[in-house]
Symmetry: C2
Subunit: 451 residues, 2 copies
């Protein structure tokens, strides 16, 4: 290390001590201070960042500070500027005036959708082609399975041939051509958030509304969206267990969106039991596709409708679903990314299935989403030398969910997968996730609030 | 790294996340949890420790937690057990019963003294031989100059031949033989505190009463004292600027002492102006020695008397000073550690002196200790490849301090040192530390409180 670099690092460390002290003492950072920090992240050691993160957890960030942090993180790496390319086939050759004119001519709205994570949450796969069929440009970056919750990328990879690791060029071309593209979350977006997020996980500084909100929103902004749909999950199977906390978080994210001139809507929904009738990568892709074919469980349909109609007319939303237009868009999308839609069912046929039947007359009082998520995750994900081996056929199909009445020998659910011996373990765990009641049970509320 | 070690580190990291979360959420750690943390410090990364330290800064530690932390840090390394050796010349050969008996025969009290740091603070050098002359066993570990404050080790090294890096064997023998020994703070004591302290300095987590109190007390306990005298400084030249904060800290330290059955007294004193008439290593050693010769400034005498008489009869204290017994003890001590008392004055004769005279009729309203400390530090300490080169002859002698009346051409102070050019800079800075008043100024209170 040359002396010059060493002295620059020392200066950064001293400035960071001042900023930690400022936050520790309950003062606000200026926008300049936050930009300085994020721009000098490579010179700030982990131990200083984690002290700052804890000070933020305990003393908070103001709305201004949160907006600055979000913006600074969003611009810490590559930021997609989708508008520029839409409508004139990625030509950068036009001069500025011409560009401004053709932009105003192409009146597309670029939508991104984000879920805070749940069990059986295949909403993205059904919703995004609906939005594209409605005329939105859907630009979506998704993640893999995290803990007991599923990941859209993992689910889509259950489609034979489907590619999620596509180039930016293809991504942008696909949006221009068919109005929809979905790729795995790239290292390019908001690298500052990646650094902070990894550290928060190891220092018990995850639970902070401004930190969660800025982390989510920075990635959406870097992804180039101008319309953001947030699906905020609350309950046993979600990361958030408390409705008030979820409301605060949703409000915070919507405020950040507004401050940055992005339309942002948040739907807060119940994640006490799994969403839809299936949990498992292959099963969930099929269930999402079937919704577009007009065959769906009520709860999944309700949440898809709620999210879509928060930015479009509900009649139009129902029309693109029931006319088959959304299904056609789904097929186009899957084909564009190399997937073979005709092989989805065949490829996800499991080697083994195991039914679990009722032994009583009762009503279902509870079906714990967390236990189901964990049981399916254990069945499907096996640690290997380079991460995980995933059994996409592993999963569960429910025949009875909360408020349903069951009789003796009725099927409660069917577990499936490639490993016969483990199916019994999964069955026992999922059965233990049920609670029964002698008396009638009211259907739980699904959508709590729209912000 | 073998897999076993890796998995043990992972387990430690997960447990530490739980403890950070516990403190972040405002809960108390049990004694076992605190001991676990300090005992596993080598497996806990800096970024987790700094998040915990910040959570402690903001959510505090209870008295119980502070006592556990102090004890855990004290026992994280070598702990001196001075009692065992006292009275029977460091023989470890005796069996336990015999040892217990001879211990109860040797009724020595082992005193350690600590100052939170100030400008012109030569109290340790004058006080420790007084205590030894009174019959206490003085076992003192000191540090070097920190920031603008002086360090006792640096001051004593202005005595030709004086060794501070003495062996434990010599340290213990000297205490048994002449009742006093002083060594530089060894790496052996409370290594856990050293790790935390270094991190606190870089993460703006220094200012926390339980962390400061446990840091100070853990080192005193490891040093084997059973009587602790704390000199808590407040004001411009101290690390603490606020009297209430200093009172809380002093109370916390006294409580820790009591919880561990150690007699602990704290004197809270004013550090708005330098203590005594001199600042600078050589000058301060001479001033401390002169106090024992019966020639002293009132403020230095007052604080020495206050500290000594908090654990001994004030008549006895005055007697050992004025009879010359303390001076004899001082001479014994300096000689035992290789110093030549006759050469102190000669060795610290400066190459250059520069007077600063008054140009007005006035009273001294203020003499800012911080500015004086910084000016002398800049004059005396020059960064070099292996730390600092120190000019022990550099310093300042005051002829006029707060409340003194001055006439035109009266000497205010004299700066001295080896570098003539820099004396003018130091003179200007020290002159700027003065504030004058037309009207009479009351002598400031020196001792605020004894706890």
């Amino acid at each position: 290390m040359t002396q010059q670099i060493a002295s620059r690092e020392l200066a950064a460390n001293l400035e960071m001590i001042r900023l930690i002290d400022q936050k520790r003492s309950g003062y606000k950072h200026s926008g300049e201070e936050i930009y300085w920090m994020i721009n000098h992240l490579d010179k700030i050691p982990d131990y200083q960042l984690s002290a700052w993160l804890m000070a933020v957890c305990l003393n908070g960030l103001s709305e201004d500070e949160t907006v600055h942090l979000t913006k600074a993180m969003a611009y810490s790496g590559h930021v997609l500027t989708l508008k520029r390319h839409a409508g004139h086939n990625h030509s950068d050759a036009c001069d500025h005036d011409h560009h401004a004119q053709s932009c105003s001519e192409s009146k597309y709205t670029f939508v991104d959708k984000h879920s805070t994570g749940g069990v059986g949450d295949k909403v993205t796969i059904a919703l995004t082609p609906i939005l594209a069929a409605l005329g939105f440009r859907v630009s979506k970056f998704s993640g893999r399975s995290l803990g007991h919750t599923g990941g859209t990328i993992d689910k889509l990879e259950a489609i034979p041939g489907f590619q999620t690791d596509i180039s930016m060029k293809q991504f942008e071309k696909q949006i221009a051509d068919i109005g929809i593209a979905l790729a795995s979350q790239s290292m390019e977006f908001a690298p500052a958030d990646k650094r902070l997020y990894a550290l928060r996980d190891k220092t018990a500084t995850v639970e902070s509304i401004p930190l969660i909100a800025s982390s989510v929103m920075s990635k959406k902004i870097a992804g180039g969206a101008d319309q953001i749909l947030l699906d905020v999950k609350v309950g046993s199977g979600a990361f958030m267990k408390d409705l008030n906390y979820a409301k605060k978080l949703a409000k915070q994210m919507v405020k950040i969106g507004k401050s940055l001139n992005l339309n942002t809507r948040a739907v807060i929904s119940n994640m006490d039991q799994p969403l839809g009738n299936t949990v498992g990568n292959g099963l969930e892709v099929i269930e999402a596709m079937e919704l577009l074919e007009g065959k769906y469980p009520e709860d999944l349909y309700e949440i898809v409708l709620e999210l879509a109609s928060s930015i479009a007319d509900v009649i139009a939303v129902k029309d693109v679903i029931h006319s088959g237009k959304a299904y056609v868009k789904f097929a186009e999308w899957i084909e564009a990314q190399g997937g073979d839609i005709r092989k989805i069912r065949e490829a996800n046929e499991p080697k083994f299935k195991l039914e679990c039947r009722s032994n009583r007359d009762a009503y279902i009082k509870k079906l714990d989403a967390l236990s189901v998520g964990q049981a399916v995750h254990e069945l499907a994900y096996k640690a290997s030398s380079n991460g995980y081996d995933i059994d996409n056929t592993a999963g569960v199909s429910f025949r009875a969910k909360v408020a349903d009445q069951i009789k003796p020998s009725d099927i409660l659910f069917i577990v499936q997968g490639s490993n016969e011996a483990e199916l019994e373990i999964a069955r026992d765990k999922i059965l233990a996730a049920y609670e029964f009641s002698e008396s009638k049970v009211k259907k739980p509320k699904l959508v709590y609030k729209i912000i």
